[in-house]
Symmetry: C2
Subunit: 455 residues, 2 copies
C-alpha cells in the first residue's frame, strides 16, 4: 500500500492538471446545446481510463448521452468492483453569481473552483487515479469495471435500459460510488440512505393571450396569481405536503431509531449562520436532520410567468409555470407519487384556468445495509486515512439510478463520497477541497484491499 500512496503523492500535480482538462468540458446534460460536449467528455474519459490501465474502454451509445464503459479483469475468480460515476454537470445559472469562470477551473484557498469540481467529475476522477496507482504499482486486488454516465443530473433516463441490456457485462460484487458527501473532514461518514425523487412541471393557462392588466385586471383569472394559490396550497402550515395519499407509504422511524438518528453532530446555530437565514422551516415535529434525512419534502425548483425583465409591464400573462420536485423516503413509490401529484393538482385547479402537469423524472429512495462486506471494508479504509470510524449517514439527496441498480442488476451500492456541504454542488461557485481529493484518492485503494480480503 505504501507504493500506491507514494505513487499518488508523486503524481499529484499531474492528476490535477488532468482533472482540470476534464472540468473544462461544459458537459451540461440539461441543455441540448451541449450535446457535442457530452460526446467529447465521454471520449476524453474513455481515453483517460485506457491510459490509467484499463484493458479496454468504450464510448457506448444510448438513446441519450453515451456511457463510458471500461474494465480490467485480473482474475475471473477475484472479486469485481463496478465503479459508477457521472460526467454530466448541472447548469451554471445564475451565471452572474460565479466568482470565477465555471468551466475554467482554478485553485484558490486550497480548493478547486469550477462546475463539476465535486459533482461528480472531481469525485469520479479520484477513482480513475486510484485505479491508475494500483495498476502502476501492480497492487490491484480486484477486477474493476467503470460505468460513467452523462445523464445523472437529468435523472439517468438512458441508464436503466443500458443496465437491462448489459447485465452480464456489468456483473460485479459491489457498485462503488463517490457522488455524496461526508458530514465533515473531522466527522467522516458513509451514506447509507438516499431520498427518492419525483420531479414535475406544471403549466397554468388563463386567457388565450397576454392581456392588458388594466382592461382585464380583477375580472379574469390571472394564471400567475392562480399558480401561487395552487402551489402554496401543496404544503400546509405545519410543513406537511397536502397531496392526498402522499404520506401513506412513508416508513415512520421508531422512537429508538429517531434517537439514534439524531446523534449525528448538528448545530442549528451554525447551520442558520452558514445559510444566513433567520430561521429554519419544515415539517412540524421533526428535527432538521430528520427533515432532510428521513422525511419527504416538496420544493419549487423554478417558477416563471409574465414579464420578468427590467422595468414594468402591465400584463396578465396567458401562462405561468412551475417546476416542483418532491424528495421521497422509504417506502414511497416515485411513480405513484407523480400520479398522486398530477391528480391532486388537476383537482384543485379552478374552472377559470386550464392546467397541464408533466412528470419530468424520478427515482426510488435507497438504503444501504451497514453490515455488508463492502460497508465494513469502507469503514476500515476510512479509519486508516481519517483516523476515525465513519458514521452511517442519511443524505437528503437522491441518486435515482442507485435503487435502479439494485432492482435491475441485483447489486448493492456503496456510497463512499468525499464531498462536503461547503462544496456548493448545484450552486454557483462549486468547489472541491484539495484535501478531499487527496483523502479520497488515498482511501480508495485501501477499500479495494479490505474488500478483496473480506469473505
Amino acid at each position: 500500500m505504501k507504493a500506491v500512496h507514494n505513487y499518488i503523492a508523486e503524481n499529484k500535480d499531474r492528476f490535477l492538471e488532468e482533472l482540470f482538462d476534464l472540468l473544462r468540458i461544459p458537459s451540461i446534460s440539461a441543455q441540448s446545446e451541449h450535446k457535442p460536449d457530452m460526446v467529447r467528455c465521454a471520449e476524453w474519459l474513455a481515453a483517460a481510463l485506457v491510459k490509467a490501465g484499463a484493458d479496454s474502454a468504450e464510448v457506448m451509445p444510448t438513446d441519450g448521452n453515451p456511457v463510458v464503459y471500461a474494465e480490467k479483469i485480473i482474475d475471473p475468480k477475484a472479486k469485481t468492483v463496478l465503479v459508477y460515476g457521472h460526467y454530466d454537470v448541472m447548469p451554471v445559472d445564475p451565471r452572474a453569481e460565479w466568482n470565477t469562470e465555471p468551466f475554467e477551473p482554478v485553485i484558490k484557498n486550497g480548493r478547486i473552483w469550477g462546475r463539476g469540481a465535486d459533482d461528480d467529475k472531481g469525485q469520479l476522477f479520484m477513482h480513475a487515479k486510484a485505479f491508475e496507482a494500483m495498476c502502476a504499482t501492480d497492487t490491484l486486488p480486484c477486477n474493476v469495471k467503470f460505468m460513467l454516465e452523462g445523464e445523472e443530473e437529468i435523472g439517468s433516463p438512458s441508464l436503466y435500459k443500458f443496465c437491462e441490456e448489459n447485465k452480464k457485462m456489468l456483473k460485479a460484487d459491489i457498485i462503488l460510488v463517490s457522488d455524496t458527501s461526508m458530514i465533515s473532514l473531522n466527522t467522516p461518514s458513509i451514506t447509507c440512505g438516499l431520498r427518492g425523487l419525483t420531479y414535475m412541471e406544471v403549466e397554468v393557462t388563463g386567457p388565450n393571450k397576454d392581456l392588458h392588466s388594466g382592461l382585464f385586471g380583477g375580472a379574469v383569472a390571472n394564471p400567475a396569481n392562480v399558480l401561487t394559490r395552487l402551489v402554496s396550497s401543496l404544503v400546509d402550515e405545519n410543513g406537511r405536503v397536502t397531496i392526498p395519499g402522499f404520506y401513506d407509504d412513508v416508513r415512520e422511524l421508531t422512537p429508538a431509531e429517531r434517537k439514534a438518528f439524531n446523534k449525528a453532530p448538528f448545530c442549528l446555530r451554525n447551520y442558520k449562520k452558514a445559510l444566513d437565514i433567520g430561521d429554519v422551516e419544515g415539517e412540524a415535529g421533526y428535527t432538521t436532520i430528520e427533515r432532510t434525512g428521513v422525511r419527504p419534502s416538496l420544493d419549487v425548483n423554478g417558477i416563471w410567468g409574465g414579464y420578468i425583465e427590467e422595468g414594468t409591464k402591465t400584463v396578465i400573462p396567458s401562462k405561468a409555470y412551475a417546476k416542483i420536485s418532491m424528495r421521497l423516503v422509504p417506502n414511497q413509490d416515485y411513480k405513484k407519487i407523480g400520479k398522486l401529484f398530477e391528480k391532486h393538482f388537476k383537482a384543485i385547479a379552478p374552472k377559470s384556468v386550464k392546467v397541464n402537469v408533466k412528470f419530468l423524472h424520478g427515482g426510488a429512495p435507497y438504503v444501504a445495509p451497514t453490515d455488508m462486506p463492502a460497508y465494513k471494508a469502507a469503514e476500515k479504509a476510512i479509519v486508516d486515512t481519517f483516523g476515525k470510524k465513519p458514521l452511517p449517514f442519511y443524505s437528503g439527496g437522491s441518486i435515482p439510478i442507485i435503487s435502479g441498480f439494485e432492482r435491475i442488476l441485483g447489486i448493492k451500492s456503496l456510497l463512499i463520497g468525499f464531498g462536503l456541504s461547503e462544496d456548493a454542488i448545484h450552486s454557483p461557485n462549486e468547489s472541491y477541497g484539495l484535501e478531499q481529493f487527496d483523502k479520497g484518492v488515498n482511501t480508495i485503494p485501501l477499500f479495494y484491499k479490505y474488500f478483496a480480503e473480506s469473505k
Copy 2:
C-alpha cells in the same frame, strides 16, 4: 369639413406609409438598450409635425426620454387644444407568439399588425394627420399644441416635472388624448373614468446561495415556495385584496349608479369565448364590468425564481421575485396604497426569509365630467362619423399622467380613443383596424369644429 375629409381620403395611403415608418422604430421604454431608438423616434415625430403644419416642433430633453413639443397658434384669442400622446411602446415578449415581426408592420385582414399599431403610435398619428388635413385645407379652428412623451408605459416619470416646468407653454382649454378604447365600432364610447395604478416589485431571499434541493429540501425555507404563499395570500377566496386599509378610501357606487353602469352592453358568454376561459374570476358581489370599471384589483404581472430553462435542476433558489400591480379607483391614493402594500408584505413574511419591497410606479385614478364642453363636442363628432351617440365608459386601464395633468396644469383631459379590445395592446400580435384609423382621423377635425363653436 368636406375639404378636410376629401384631403384625408386622397392621402390615406401616404398616411399609412408614414405610420409604418413610425412603427418600425422599436421605442421600448422599459428596456434601456432602446435609449437611442427613443431619441430617433422623438426626432422623427418632431419633423413629421413640422411637415404637417406646425409653426415649430422641438425635441425637449428630460431626465428620461425626450418630450416632443409642437404648436400652431392661429389666434391668441382662439381656443387651444393640447394633444397628448406617447411614442413609447411595450416590450414584445413573449416574442415567439408573434405571427409577424413586431417592428415590421404589415396590413392583413383589414388591420395593421405591429407593436404600437394602436398603443399609442397609431392613435397619436391620427391626430398628426387630422392636424395636417386641417392645415392643408385652411380649416383649423383652434390653436393646437402637441406634447408627445416617451415614457407612458413606464409611468411617465419625467413628464410630471416637464409639466411643472412648462406650465405657461402648455396652457390650453382641453387636453385631447387618444390612448383608450371604445366598446365596439357599433357601440362607440368616450372614456370618462380610468383606474389608478400602484406597481410594486418584491424580492424574497432565503438562503444566501442556491442550495441542492435534496440536501436541504424540507429543512430550509425555499423562497419560491414562500413567495407563492405570500403572494397568494394577498387576495382572499372572495377575490378581495387582503392588505389592511386597501378598501378604506374606495368610493362605493350607489345602487342607482351601479344600475346605470351595468347598462353598457356586455355578453359574458362572448367574453369568456373570446378569451377561451372556462369561467371569469373576481371580487364577489360585482359584475365583470364593475370589476374592471369601478373596483380595484391586484395582479401578478411577473413572477420568477430558480431554474426556468429546459429540463430539470434540483435547486432551492436563493431568491424569488414578483412584479405585482394594483389597479385603483376613486378615491384611492396610489402612494398610500404602495406604503400599505409594503408594510403588509413585510409583516406577513416569516422569519425564515428576508423580503425587499420596491415601488416601481403609480398614478391616480381619473374621472372626466360628461357635461364639459369638450365632452359634448366629442359626442357630436362621434355621432357624425359613427351615426350613434357614444356611451360614457369606465375603462379598467390607467394613464397615470392624466390625473397629473389636472393636478399640475389644471386642465381636464378628453379621452377620445378609437382602440378596440381586439387590438391586443400590450400583448403579442397588437393590431389596429384600418377602419378605426379612418374613423379616428375623420372624427378629430369634427371635434375641433364643435369645440371651437362651444361656449
